[in-house]
Subunit: 159 residues, 2 copies
Amino acid sequence: MDNKGYIILGIDPGSIKTGYGLINAVGRSFFHIDNGLIMPPKGLDFKDRIGFIFRGVCDVMDEFKPNAVALEDVFIAKNAQSALKLGHVRGAVMSAAAIHGLPLFEYTPTRVKQSVTGNGRAEKFQIQEMIKILLRLKEAPYEDAADALAIAITHAFTV
Amino acid sequence: MDNKGYIILGIDPGSIKTGYGLINAVGRSFFHIDNGLIMPPKGLDFKDRIGFIFRGVCDVMDEFKPNAVALEDVFIAKNAQSALKLGHVRGAVMSAAAIHGLPLFEYTPTRVKQSVTGNGRAEKFQIQEMIKILLRLKEAPYEDAADALAIAITHAFTV
Protein backbone atom coordinates (compact mmCIF):
# COMPACT_ATOMS: atom_id res chain seq x y z
CA MET A 1 0.00 0.00 0.00
CA ASP A 2 1.43 3.38 -0.99
CA ASN A 3 0.23 6.75 -2.23
CA LYS A 4 -0.69 5.30 -5.58
CA GLY A 5 -3.10 3.02 -3.81
CA TYR A 6 -3.70 -0.65 -3.48
CA ILE A 7 -6.79 -2.00 -5.19
CA ILE A 8 -8.57 -4.77 -3.31
CA LEU A 9 -11.25 -6.98 -4.82
CA GLY A 10 -13.53 -8.41 -2.12
CA ILE A 11 -15.67 -11.41 -3.00
CA ASP A 12 -18.65 -12.93 -1.21
CA PRO A 13 -19.06 -16.29 -2.98
CA GLY A 14 -22.42 -17.91 -3.68
CA SER A 15 -23.79 -20.08 -6.48
CA ILE A 16 -26.95 -17.95 -6.85
CA LYS A 17 -25.29 -14.56 -6.31
CA THR A 18 -21.60 -13.81 -5.97
CA GLY A 19 -21.03 -10.30 -4.66
CA TYR A 20 -17.95 -8.32 -5.56
CA GLY A 21 -16.64 -4.99 -4.36
CA LEU A 22 -13.55 -3.00 -5.24
CA ILE A 23 -11.88 -0.40 -3.08
CA ASN A 24 -8.66 1.57 -3.41
CA ALA A 25 -6.69 1.78 -0.19
CA VAL A 26 -4.42 4.83 -0.11
CA GLY A 27 -2.45 5.24 3.07
CA ARG A 28 -5.04 4.90 5.82
CA SER A 29 -7.97 5.92 3.64
CA PHE A 30 -10.01 3.86 1.26
CA PHE A 31 -12.18 4.76 -1.65
CA HIS A 32 -15.02 2.94 -3.36
CA ILE A 33 -14.37 1.90 -6.96
CA ASP A 34 -17.21 -0.42 -7.90
CA ASN A 35 -19.47 -3.17 -6.62
CA GLY A 36 -21.98 -5.58 -8.06
CA LEU A 37 -23.36 -9.07 -8.29
CA ILE A 38 -22.40 -11.94 -10.59
CA MET A 39 -25.62 -13.85 -11.13
CA PRO A 40 -25.69 -16.81 -13.52
CA PRO A 41 -28.93 -16.84 -15.57
CA LYS A 42 -31.62 -19.13 -14.20
CA GLY A 43 -31.88 -22.47 -15.93
CA LEU A 44 -28.13 -22.98 -16.35
CA ASP A 45 -26.72 -26.34 -15.25
CA PHE A 46 -24.75 -26.15 -12.02
CA LYS A 47 -21.45 -26.73 -13.87
CA ASP A 48 -22.28 -23.90 -16.26
CA ARG A 49 -23.15 -21.63 -13.35
CA ILE A 50 -19.65 -22.25 -11.99
CA GLY A 51 -18.13 -21.47 -15.40
CA PHE A 52 -20.23 -18.29 -15.56
CA ILE A 53 -19.04 -17.16 -12.12
CA PHE A 54 -15.41 -17.97 -13.00
CA ARG A 55 -15.63 -15.86 -16.17
CA GLY A 56 -17.45 -13.08 -14.32
CA VAL A 57 -14.72 -12.88 -11.68
CA CYS A 58 -12.05 -12.95 -14.42
CA ASP A 59 -13.83 -10.06 -16.21
CA VAL A 60 -13.83 -7.97 -13.03
CA MET A 61 -10.11 -8.71 -12.53
CA ASP A 62 -9.34 -7.80 -16.16
CA GLU A 63 -11.30 -4.55 -15.94
CA PHE A 64 -10.10 -3.24 -12.56
CA LYS A 65 -6.70 -4.90 -12.24
CA PRO A 66 -6.78 -5.40 -8.45
CA ASN A 67 -3.58 -5.92 -6.46
CA ALA A 68 -5.15 -8.49 -4.14
CA VAL A 69 -8.27 -10.58 -3.67
CA ALA A 70 -10.06 -10.94 -0.33
CA LEU A 71 -12.49 -13.84 -0.08
CA GLU A 72 -15.01 -14.73 2.56
CA ASP A 73 -13.78 -17.77 4.41
CA VAL A 74 -16.08 -20.68 4.99
CA PHE A 75 -18.61 -20.56 7.73
CA ILE A 76 -19.62 -23.89 9.15
CA ALA A 77 -21.79 -25.17 6.32
CA LYS A 78 -25.29 -26.27 7.23
CA ASN A 79 -24.91 -29.57 5.45
CA ALA A 80 -22.74 -31.47 3.00
CA GLN A 81 -24.81 -30.37 0.00
CA SER A 82 -24.48 -26.64 0.69
CA ALA A 83 -20.79 -27.09 1.55
CA LEU A 84 -20.26 -28.82 -1.79
CA LYS A 85 -21.95 -25.99 -3.73
CA LEU A 86 -20.07 -23.28 -1.88
CA GLY A 87 -16.82 -25.19 -2.43
CA HIS A 88 -17.33 -25.09 -6.21
CA VAL A 89 -17.77 -21.31 -6.20
CA ARG A 90 -14.75 -20.78 -3.96
CA GLY A 91 -12.72 -23.08 -6.22
CA ALA A 92 -13.70 -20.96 -9.22
CA VAL A 93 -12.65 -17.75 -7.42
CA MET A 94 -9.32 -19.31 -6.38
CA SER A 95 -8.77 -20.41 -10.00
CA ALA A 96 -9.46 -16.89 -11.26
CA ALA A 97 -6.97 -15.46 -8.74
CA ALA A 98 -4.41 -18.10 -9.76
CA ILE A 99 -4.68 -17.35 -13.48
CA HIS A 100 -4.28 -13.63 -12.80
CA GLY A 101 -1.35 -14.23 -10.44
CA LEU A 102 -3.16 -12.41 -7.62
CA PRO A 103 -2.54 -13.04 -3.91
CA LEU A 104 -5.67 -14.22 -2.15
CA PHE A 105 -6.58 -13.61 1.50
CA GLU A 106 -9.43 -15.12 3.47
CA TYR A 107 -11.45 -13.68 6.32
CA THR A 108 -14.21 -15.28 8.34
CA PRO A 109 -17.66 -13.65 8.42
CA THR A 110 -17.21 -12.91 12.13
CA ARG A 111 -13.93 -11.12 11.50
CA VAL A 112 -15.47 -9.11 8.66
CA LYS A 113 -18.46 -8.05 10.75
CA GLN A 114 -16.16 -7.15 13.63
CA SER A 115 -13.90 -5.07 11.36
CA VAL A 116 -16.67 -3.09 9.74
CA THR A 117 -19.25 -2.67 12.52
CA GLY A 118 -17.32 -3.49 15.69
CA ASN A 119 -19.76 -6.35 16.30
CA GLY A 120 -18.92 -9.89 15.15
CA ARG A 121 -22.62 -10.75 15.16
CA ALA A 122 -23.87 -7.76 13.17
CA GLU A 123 -26.91 -8.20 10.93
CA LYS A 124 -26.74 -7.89 7.15
CA PHE A 125 -28.50 -4.50 7.12
CA GLN A 126 -25.99 -3.13 9.63
CA ILE A 127 -23.15 -4.09 7.31
CA GLN A 128 -24.95 -2.39 4.43
CA GLU A 129 -25.40 0.80 6.43
CA MET A 130 -21.80 0.86 7.66
CA ILE A 131 -20.51 0.30 4.13
CA LYS A 132 -22.61 3.21 2.93
CA ILE A 133 -21.08 5.45 5.62
CA LEU A 134 -17.47 4.18 5.40
CA LEU A 135 -17.34 4.49 1.62
CA ARG A 136 -19.44 7.67 1.42
CA LEU A 137 -22.01 6.11 -0.91
CA LYS A 138 -25.39 7.66 -1.72
CA GLU A 139 -27.16 4.35 -1.27
CA ALA A 140 -26.34 1.12 0.51
CA PRO A 141 -25.21 -1.59 -1.96
CA TYR A 142 -27.06 -4.89 -2.31
CA GLU A 143 -26.44 -7.29 0.59
CA ASP A 144 -23.90 -9.55 -1.10
CA ALA A 145 -22.08 -6.64 -2.74
CA ALA A 146 -21.97 -4.84 0.63
CA ASP A 147 -20.51 -8.00 2.16
CA ALA A 148 -17.88 -8.09 -0.58
CA LEU A 149 -16.92 -4.46 0.11
CA ALA A 150 -16.78 -5.29 3.83
CA ILE A 151 -14.38 -8.17 3.07
CA ALA A 152 -12.20 -5.81 1.00
CA ILE A 153 -12.18 -3.26 3.84
CA THR A 154 -11.24 -5.99 6.33
CA HIS A 155 -8.23 -6.77 4.18
CA ALA A 156 -7.37 -3.05 3.91
CA PHE A 157 -7.20 -2.90 7.72
CA THR A 158 -4.57 -5.64 7.79
CA VAL A 159 -2.11 -4.33 5.19
CA MET B 1 -16.63 -38.64 -33.03
CA ASP B 2 -15.31 -39.42 -36.52
CA ASN B 3 -12.34 -41.09 -38.13
CA LYS B 4 -10.02 -38.35 -36.98
CA GLY B 5 -10.95 -39.20 -33.43
CA TYR B 6 -12.42 -37.47 -30.47
CA ILE B 7 -10.05 -36.78 -27.59
CA ILE B 8 -11.58 -37.15 -24.14
CA LEU B 9 -9.94 -35.91 -20.96
CA GLY B 10 -11.21 -37.83 -17.93
CA ILE B 11 -10.67 -36.32 -14.48
CA ASP B 12 -10.93 -37.88 -11.04
CA PRO B 13 -10.88 -34.83 -8.75
CA GLY B 14 -9.19 -34.78 -5.33
CA SER B 15 -7.34 -32.15 -3.32
CA ILE B 16 -4.43 -34.50 -2.54
CA LYS B 17 -4.29 -36.22 -5.94
CA THR B 18 -6.26 -35.35 -9.05
CA GLY B 19 -6.03 -38.12 -11.63
CA TYR B 20 -6.27 -37.41 -15.34
CA GLY B 21 -6.44 -39.69 -18.34
CA LEU B 22 -6.68 -39.00 -22.07
CA ILE B 23 -8.07 -41.32 -24.70
CA ASN B 24 -8.77 -40.93 -28.39
CA ALA B 25 -12.09 -42.41 -29.45
CA VAL B 26 -12.11 -43.36 -33.13
CA GLY B 27 -15.31 -44.96 -34.34
CA ARG B 28 -16.00 -47.71 -31.82
CA SER B 29 -12.38 -48.06 -30.73
CA PHE B 30 -10.42 -46.04 -28.24
CA PHE B 31 -6.73 -45.52 -27.74
CA HIS B 32 -4.71 -44.45 -24.74
CA ILE B 33 -2.94 -41.11 -25.07
CA ASP B 34 -1.65 -40.27 -21.60
CA ASN B 35 -2.48 -40.44 -17.90
CA GLY B 36 -1.08 -39.05 -14.69
CA LEU B 37 -1.62 -37.37 -11.37
CA ILE B 38 -1.71 -33.70 -10.48
CA MET B 39 -0.35 -33.52 -6.95
CA PRO B 40 0.14 -30.15 -5.27
CA PRO B 41 3.39 -30.10 -3.25
CA LYS B 42 2.96 -30.78 0.44
CA GLY B 43 2.93 -27.70 2.62
CA LEU B 44 0.93 -25.54 0.21
CA ASP B 45 -2.06 -23.67 1.64
CA PHE B 46 -5.39 -25.16 0.61
CA LYS B 47 -6.13 -22.18 -1.65
CA ASP B 48 -2.75 -22.59 -3.35
CA ARG B 49 -3.42 -26.30 -3.81
CA ILE B 50 -6.58 -25.37 -5.69
CA GLY B 51 -4.65 -22.89 -7.85
CA PHE B 52 -2.03 -25.58 -8.52
CA ILE B 53 -4.69 -28.10 -9.60
CA PHE B 54 -6.41 -25.49 -11.80
CA ARG B 55 -3.12 -24.71 -13.56
CA GLY B 56 -2.26 -28.41 -13.85
CA VAL B 57 -5.58 -29.17 -15.53
CA CYS B 58 -5.12 -26.15 -17.85
CA ASP B 59 -1.64 -27.41 -18.79
CA VAL B 60 -3.03 -30.83 -19.72
CA MET B 61 -5.76 -29.16 -21.81
CA ASP B 62 -3.21 -26.93 -23.55
CA GLU B 63 -0.91 -29.86 -24.32
CA PHE B 64 -3.44 -32.44 -25.53
CA LYS B 65 -6.28 -30.21 -26.80
CA PRO B 66 -9.15 -32.54 -25.82
CA ASN B 67 -12.57 -32.22 -27.44
CA ALA B 68 -14.45 -32.92 -24.22
CA VAL B 69 -13.94 -33.27 -20.48
CA ALA B 70 -15.50 -36.08 -18.42
CA LEU B 71 -15.55 -35.50 -14.67
CA GLU B 72 -16.42 -37.82 -11.84
CA ASP B 73 -19.72 -36.70 -10.38
CA VAL B 74 -20.11 -36.28 -6.68
CA PHE B 75 -20.62 -39.29 -4.49
CA ILE B 76 -22.51 -38.65 -1.30
CA ALA B 77 -19.83 -36.87 0.67
CA LYS B 78 -18.98 -38.30 4.07
CA ASN B 79 -19.35 -34.95 5.76
CA ALA B 80 -19.56 -31.23 5.10
CA GLN B 81 -15.80 -30.76 5.39
CA SER B 82 -14.91 -33.33 2.74
CA ALA B 83 -17.75 -32.07 0.51
CA LEU B 84 -16.37 -28.56 0.78
CA LYS B 85 -12.85 -29.67 -0.21
CA LEU B 86 -14.07 -31.77 -3.12
CA GLY B 87 -16.27 -28.88 -4.25
CA HIS B 88 -13.23 -26.60 -4.53
CA VAL B 89 -11.39 -29.06 -6.78
CA ARG B 90 -14.44 -29.64 -8.96
CA GLY B 91 -14.92 -25.86 -9.21
CA ALA B 92 -11.33 -25.52 -10.42
CA VAL B 93 -11.84 -28.24 -13.06
CA MET B 94 -15.08 -26.60 -14.25
CA SER B 95 -13.26 -23.26 -14.46
CA ALA B 96 -10.48 -24.81 -16.54
CA ALA B 97 -13.07 -26.34 -18.89
CA ALA B 98 -14.87 -22.98 -19.13
CA ILE B 99 -11.73 -21.02 -20.02
CA HIS B 100 -10.88 -23.58 -22.72
CA GLY B 101 -14.45 -23.58 -24.05
CA LEU B 102 -14.71 -27.34 -23.53
CA PRO B 103 -17.97 -29.21 -22.97
CA LEU B 104 -18.01 -31.02 -19.65
CA PHE B 105 -19.86 -34.23 -18.83
CA GLU B 106 -20.33 -35.86 -15.45
CA TYR B 107 -20.66 -39.51 -14.53
CA THR B 108 -21.26 -41.07 -11.13
CA PRO B 109 -18.71 -43.54 -9.75
CA THR B 110 -21.31 -46.32 -9.99
CA ARG B 111 -21.92 -45.61 -13.67
CA VAL B 112 -18.18 -45.53 -14.36
CA LYS B 113 -17.57 -48.85 -12.59
CA GLN B 114 -20.51 -50.38 -14.42
CA SER B 115 -19.26 -49.14 -17.81
CA VAL B 116 -15.73 -50.39 -17.39
CA THR B 117 -16.11 -53.61 -15.39
CA GLY B 118 -19.81 -54.47 -15.74
CA ASN B 119 -20.11 -54.18 -11.95
CA GLY B 120 -21.24 -50.92 -10.33
CA ARG B 121 -19.56 -51.96 -7.09
CA ALA B 122 -16.18 -52.93 -8.53
CA GLU B 123 -13.07 -52.44 -6.40
CA LYS B 124 -10.32 -49.98 -7.32
CA PHE B 125 -7.90 -52.74 -8.34
CA GLN B 126 -10.51 -54.22 -10.67
CA ILE B 127 -10.83 -50.86 -12.45
CA GLN B 128 -7.04 -50.70 -12.76
CA GLU B 129 -6.88 -54.17 -14.28
CA MET B 130 -9.73 -53.53 -16.71
CA ILE B 131 -8.16 -50.24 -17.82
CA LYS B 132 -4.90 -52.06 -18.48
CA ILE B 133 -6.73 -54.60 -20.66
CA LEU B 134 -9.10 -52.18 -22.43
CA LEU B 135 -6.33 -49.75 -23.33
CA ARG B 136 -3.71 -52.41 -24.00
CA LEU B 137 -1.25 -50.97 -21.46
CA LYS B 138 1.85 -52.77 -20.22
CA GLU B 139 1.12 -51.81 -16.62
CA ALA B 140 -1.98 -50.73 -14.74
CA PRO B 141 -2.00 -46.95 -14.11
CA TYR B 142 -2.11 -45.49 -10.61
CA GLU B 143 -5.55 -45.76 -8.97
CA ASP B 144 -6.68 -42.18 -9.54
CA ALA B 145 -5.28 -42.06 -13.08
CA ALA B 146 -7.00 -45.40 -13.84
CA ASP B 147 -10.25 -43.92 -12.51
CA ALA B 148 -9.77 -40.89 -14.77
CA LEU B 149 -9.27 -43.15 -17.80
CA ALA B 150 -12.37 -45.12 -16.77
CA ILE B 151 -14.37 -41.86 -16.66
CA ALA B 152 -13.09 -40.95 -20.15
CA ILE B 153 -14.06 -44.42 -21.46
CA THR B 154 -17.52 -44.07 -19.89
CA HIS B 155 -17.99 -40.87 -21.87
CA ALA B 156 -16.70 -42.57 -25.04
CA PHE B 157 -19.45 -45.18 -24.66
CA THR B 158 -22.12 -42.46 -24.69
CA VAL B 159 -21.08 -40.46 -27.77
